[in-house]
Each structure stands twice: as structure tokens, then as C-alpha cells.
């Protein structure tokens, strides 16, 4: 197991950007992060306003998600996400309009046509695999996609994600075991925010980090600061390169913060110390990355304003679009139980 810290201290100049990252790459990642956060915040507003029945959040996970997904080849690689992966879904091509349609259960929602709760990202066209709500079942699908890719002689990589809560499930163990036996091109991402709803990590596992478990599967395991998109990208690229070149799977544990309750139906004040949350909010990955990009001279105040304006326009457009969209017709209830 390796530990990757933020590396921030070593990245004071633009010449030292790792892994072939350009200024444009960093700006793109930053904009995805801002878009994911702003979209998520708008979804909460719509929930509290009574328009959206349910929200499940990725706030605090955006840096990790955007960096991990950016290391994949969109259009070729396959994402098997979990319910917090809004940032990954955006990078893979779902749009704010798509996600707002999903939030409101409207017709035209490409993830499920209004059948699933929000947060169940899916699109065959975009290589985002449909998922369920039971935790960690998708991790086995990630291994299966990678098995098929290997047997078909492709160099496609699968990335599957789960929270640290899901690592307690048997499916998680079975997936890592199978993938390692067959050296499959799959990356197991654990977004560790320290809580399984209300249960803190110390009650979920006796090991100090999820990545330690990789040793039990003879697989590389890496813990990375998931608040730092550059460090996360470096780790992800290494794993992607290994998988693509036949080197087998990697377990990546991205340490992140959960800045919201588990979902819109949760109240984290019943179990989370206020000081802890305050401390995490003080280390919000988005303002931290903004400060760093400005420090590096990659992002100017003018660019920052342009990004914020673009994101705001997209979200206003998506909200209005979804609000005006029709609901599915009740007759659609019976469709798609079986194929023709």
C-alpha cells in the first residue's frame, strides 16, 4: 500500500504539473467541480422547496470524482458508479438537463425515464452502467465488464465506485478477489467520507484505511487525499495505465468529506459533532482548488467569474427545462419488463 498526500507543497509552479496535465486540463476539472457542486446545491433547494422528493449528494466528493473520471477515456472506458458520483456522471457526459429531469422524475430522463430515485446515473450510450440502491452490488459488475473487455481483447478499462460503507458488503470482497485472480482491467474506487449514514469508520472496520485490504487480494492499494484533484488524478492515471496495459486491478481509496447529510431524508445533527463538520467545511475541495489554481496563475478572477456565470446559466436552464418537461404517461408503467 502506498500513501499519497496532496503534494500541494511541491506544486508551486506550473512547470511541475504532473502526469501531462495542462492548464486547460486543470481549468476543465475545476469547472466540472463547480458545476457538480452548484447542481447539487440547486437540487437541495428544489427539495426543500417541495419540488424534488429526494436528493442524495456528492458535496465534498467532487475533486476526487472529477479527477478519477478525467483519468479515463470518455467514450471508450466504462463507468460503474454509485449514488454520490454526480461529478463522474457529468465528466462522462450526462448533462445538467439530464440530471434535473431525473431529479424531478420527468419524461425524457435518460437514466431511467423517471423510474429510479435521483442519483442512479445510467446511460448505455455514455458507457455509464445502470445501478441499483442495494450497496456494493455494482462492484461485481465492474469486474464483469472488465472480464468481458479482457476476453474480447480490448484495452477498455472499467472503473467502479462505492463508499467506504459499501466495503463491508460481501460483494465488495468477492469482486476484488475475482478481479485479482484474473488480472482484470478494473479500478475499484472507494470514496471514503468516514460515514456509512450515521456509523463512523471506526465502527465499520478495524483497519485504519480501506486500501490496506488490497494486500489481501495481492492488488496494489493506494490511499489518496481526495480533496486534492491533482494528487488524485496522478494516482488514477497510474491505475488506469496499469489496467490498460494488462497489469490488473487497483484499489484506490480517496479520502473525502461528506458536507451534507447522507440524503435529504437524513439529519446529520443527530449523530455528527458540529465542530467536525465545521472543520470539514473549512477544507472544502472547491475553494481550496480555486486558491491553488490562482496561486499557480492558471485561474484569473476574470476566468473565475466566467466559469461561475456559465455554470449558473446551465443550471438555470436545466432547472427551467426540467420544470417544464412533462411527467411520464401512466401507460409507461408497464413498458420494458421484458424485451420484445
Amino acid at each position: 500500500m502506498k500513501q499519497h498526500d496532496s503534494g500541494g507543497a511541491g506544486l508551486q509552479t506550473r512547470d511541475r504539473l504532473p502526469a501531462g496535465l495542462t492548464d486547460a486540463d486543470l481549468l476543465r476539472m475545476y469547472e466540472w467541480m463547480v458545476l457538480a457542486r452548484s447542481l447539487d446545491e440547486r437540487m437541495w433547494l428544489l427539495n426543500r422547496g417541495g419540488q424534488a422528493a429526494f436528493v442524495i449528494s456528492g458535496q465534498g466528493h467532487e475533486a476526487a470524482q472529477v479527477a478519477l473520471a478525467s483519468a479515463l477515456q470518455v467514450g471508450k472506458d466504462v463507468l460503474v458508479p454509485y449514488y454520490r458520483d454526480l461529478g463522474m456522471a457529468l465528466v462522462f457526459g450526462l448533462t445538467p438537463r439530464d440530471l434535473m429531469l431525473s431529479l424531478l422524475g420527468k419524461k425524457g430522463d435518460p437514466t431511467s425515464q423517471g423510474r429510479q430515485m435521483p442519483g442512479h446515473f445510467s446511460s448505455r450510450r455514455l458507457n455509464i452502467i445502470t445501478g441499483s440502491s442495494p450497496v456494493a452490488t455494482q462492484v461485481l459488475h465492474g469486474a464483469g465488464v472488465a472480464l468481458a473487455a479482457k476476453l474480447r481483447g480490448e484495452d477498455t478499462v472499467a472503473m467502479t465506485c462505492v463508499g467506504e460503507g459499501g466495503t463491508s458488503e460481501g460483494d465488495f470482497h468477492e469482486a476484488l478477489n475475482f478481479a485479482s485472480i484474473h488480472h482484470l482491467p478494473v479500478i475499484f474506487v472507494v470514496e471514503n467520507n468516514g460515514y456509512a449514514i450515521s456509523v463512523p469508520q471506526r465502527k465499520e472496520m478495524a483497519v485504519a484505511s480501506v486500501a490496506e485490504r488490497a494486500a489481501g487480494y495481492a492488488m496494489p492499494g493506494v490511499t489518496v487525499d481526495g480533496l486534492d484533484p491533482i494528487a488524485t488524478y496522478v494516482v488514477a492515471r497510474e491505475a488506469v495505465d496499469r489496467a490498460r496495459s494488462g497489469g490488473g486491478p487497483t484499489l484506490i481509496e480517496a479520502k473525502v468529506h461528506r458536507l451534507t447529510p447522507h440524503s435529504s431524508d437524513d439529519d446529520d445533527r443527530t449523530y455528527r459533532p458540529a465542530a467536525e463538520l465545521q472543520e470539514e467545511r473549512a477544507h472544502d475541495p472547491i475553494p481550496m482548488f480555486r486558491a491553488r489554481l490562482m496561486e499557480l496563475g492558471v485561474l484569473s478572477e476574470q476566468q473565475e467569474k466566467e466559469i461561475r456565470d456559465r455554470v449558473k446559466a446551465q443550471i438555470n436552464d436545466a432547472t427551467e427545462f426540467a420544470e417544464q418537461a412533462p411527467y411520464p404517461d401512466p401507460s409507461e408503467l408497464m413498458l420494458h419488463v421484458y424485451g420484445a
Binding site: V78, V80, P110, T111, S112, Q113, R115, Q116, H120, S122, S123, R124, I129, T130, S132, P134, T137, L140, H141, G142, A143, G144, V145, A146, L147, A148, A149, L151, R152, T156, A158, G170, D171, E174, A175, N177, F178, I181, E332, L335, H336, V337, Y338, G339
Partner: protein, 328 residues
């Protein structure tokens, strides 16, 4: 055409389909070199290699879950669960994943996998190598469940199942593997899922059954004909979901008396659904109660021979029910 045992018909069909389509793979416990604990997959690894015939770890959720993932990316996996009794760790993958993938994605994704598993008792397999728990699965929209007992039906339905775009649970009665034989066509002869077969026409009473109970039912029908001249129509459901409504209602309206026979316990079984369908849609045609002969209402089949015998329906129990029904 060749006369084949059930086990050979299933194995030969897998050879045919794997030769025809390289996307078809087989995965499960001991399916490789050992050829499966019942030898259903014997020889497959020699012809198709370890990439397409995968000995998996002893972990049922991964057998089905990896198969689902592989199907997402273009393969047509056949997943073997070594005994139906051991399928429970894979329940999430079967019921919450495979069966719901098409519906939850509004047809954007589908799940073309076949899950093969041996079921049924009468082989001294006791509680955990004898179960007939098909009703857990037949209540699940999105899943198809077939249980052919005749080798020709197994051949035709396995072909169809492998080509099907939805998940199919393919149940193989382990007592039938080396007991039941008939004429099996070479290569072609696909049989549609959802079609029952009238095995024997009759006019007085209908028996609706499947699995090894088809054989017991036919024996009981023969005795009833010899004893009283009772004319019994015998229907092999072959597919347990979707049920063949036309065949069930057609026969029920013709004879007006229906006996349902299966090895699984009675309450909530496949027979309960068949009976409900007839009661709802053919009530006016009935001349007697819909009756059922089923496995004992105990948690599972015991080991000791007299207990096992007492658990199972047989031709005597079926014959007694026929007598009672014919008297109406």
C-alpha cells in the same frame, strides 16, 4: 435425432451454442476440469479453453454478479450455481439486479444471462441438496424461469434461453439427469419460452405439472385409465414464468377438473398461481375444486429414506387425488 439423457442434452446444447457464438461463456464452481459436480459441463474446457469456461471461486454472488457485468459489455454468460439450495447469496444479484435492469433503465440496458442450476430431490440430498425453491423466483417480473424435464425440451429451451435478451433461470432436475431420456434433434429445435406442452390428451381431468412430477403424473394417469377408464390430460408447464395462459385455461375449460402437481411445497408455490389463474378466468367451467398435490409443508426434504419418501409426491398420492377429483 438421437436418444439422449437429460444431462447429455444440456451439455450438447452448450457445446453447440459455444461453437456458434464466441460470446457465450460458462462460469461456475468446478465447471472446468472437473466438468461440474454432476458432469454437465464435462469437456467444455478442453474445447473452449479456460477463458470461456471459468472455474470461479466459491462465491455465488460473484458468479451471477460478474456474469451480469460481462453481459453489460457484450458477452452471453451461462452462470452455473452448483445447487439451487446454494443460490441465496446471489439473490441480490438475481432479483435486485438481473431482473430489474431492463425496467429500471427503461430498456436502455438489458441482461442476457442464463443461470443454470440443479434442483429437486429424491436423491438422498437432504435439506440442502434437494430444494425446489422456484416460487421465490417465479414471483419476480423481469425474470424468466424454465424447468424442462424432457431432454428434447431442455435442448430447445436452453437454446432459446441463451439467445434470449433477458435473464433466464434454467432449472435442471438432478434426479432426471441420468434417468430421463428421449429423442433430441441435432442443433436446431429451439422451443419458445412460455409454452407448455400437452404430453397426453384427455377429457375427464387435467393434470398440470412440471419436473420429475411429470413422470409420476403420467404413471398415475395410466393407472387411472386402466382402473376406471378415466381420461387424464397431462400438461408439462416447461416454463414457470411466464405461465402459458392459453394452455392452462384451454385444458381447464375442456375437462373442468384440474389437479396441479409439483415437488415444491404447496403454499405460495407455482401451483397456487396456476390455481388462482383458473379460478379467476375459468371458474364457470369447473366441475370440481382445483386440487393440488405438492411436497410436504416442512422447511426442506429430510435425508433418511422413509422421511424423504414421505416428503415427495408420487404416483400413489397423485392417483388418490385423481380418484377424489374424478368423483365430482
Amino acid at each position: 435425432m438421437a436418444t439422449k439423457l437429460l444431462i447429455d442434452a444440456i451439455r450438447d446444447t452448450m457445446f453447440e451454442e459455444m461453437r456458434a457464438d464466441e460470446r457465450v461463456i460458462v462460469m461456475g464452481e468446478d465447471v472446468g476440469k472437473r466438468g461440474g459436480v454432476f458432469r454437465v459441463t464435462a469437456g467444455l474446457v478442453d474445447e473452449f479453453g479456460e477463458n470461456r469456461v471459468i472455474d470461479t471461486p466459491l462465491a455465488e454472488a460473484s458468479i451471477v454478479g460478474v456474469a451480469i457485468g460481462a453481459a453489460f459489455h457484450g458477452l452471453r454468460p451461462i452462470a452455473e450455481i452448483q445447487f439451487f439450495d446454494f443460490i441465496h447469496p446471489a439473490m441480490d444479484q438475481i432479483l435486485n439486479e438481473a431482473a430489474k435492469i431492463r425496467y429500471r433503465s427503461a430498456g436502455d440496458f438489458n441482461c442476457p444471462i442464463v443461470i443454470r442450476t440443479p434442483y429437486g430431490g429424491g436423491v438422498h440430498g437432504a435439506l440442502y441438496h434437494s430444494q425446489s425453491i422456484e416460487a421465490i423466483f417465479t414471483r419476480e417480473p423481469g425474470l424468466k424461469v424454465v424447468a424442462p424435464i424432457m431432454p428434447s425440451d431442455a435442448h430447445g429451451l436452453l437454446k432459446t434461453a441463451i439467445h434470449d435478451e433477458d435473464p433466464v433461470l434454467f432449472l435442471e432436475h438432478k434426479k432426471g439427469y441420468r434417468l430421463v431420456k428421449d429423442e433430441v434433434p441435432d442443433n436446431d429445435g429451439a422451443i419458445p419460452i412460455g409454452k407448455a406442452r400437452v404430453v397426453q390428451e384427455g377429457s375427464d381431468v387435467t393434470i398440470i405439472t412440471y419436473g420429475m412430477m411429470l413422470l409420476e403424473s403420467l404413471a398415475a394417469a395410466k393407472k387411472a385409465a386402466e382402473k376406471d377408464g378415466t381420461s387424464v390430460e397431462v400438461i408439462d408447464l416447461r416454463t414457470l414464468r411466464p405461465l402459458d395462459r392459453d394452455a392452462i385455461l384451454g385444458s381447464a375449460t375442456k375437462t373442468g377438473k384440474v389437479l396441479i402437481v409439483h415437488e415444491a411445497n404447496k403454499i405460495g408455490g407455482v401451483g397456487a398461481e396456476v390455481a388462482a389463474m383458473i379460478a379467476e378466468e375459468a371458474f364457470a367451467y369447473l366441475d370440481g375444486p382445483i386440487m393440488r398435490v405438492a411436497g410436504a409443508e416442512v422447511p426442506a426434504m429430510p435425508y433418511s429414506p422413509p422421511l424423504e419418501h414421505a416428503y415427495l409426491p408420487n404416483q400413489e398420492k397423485i392417483g388418490a387425488a385423481l380418484d377424489r377429483l374424478a368423483a365430482y
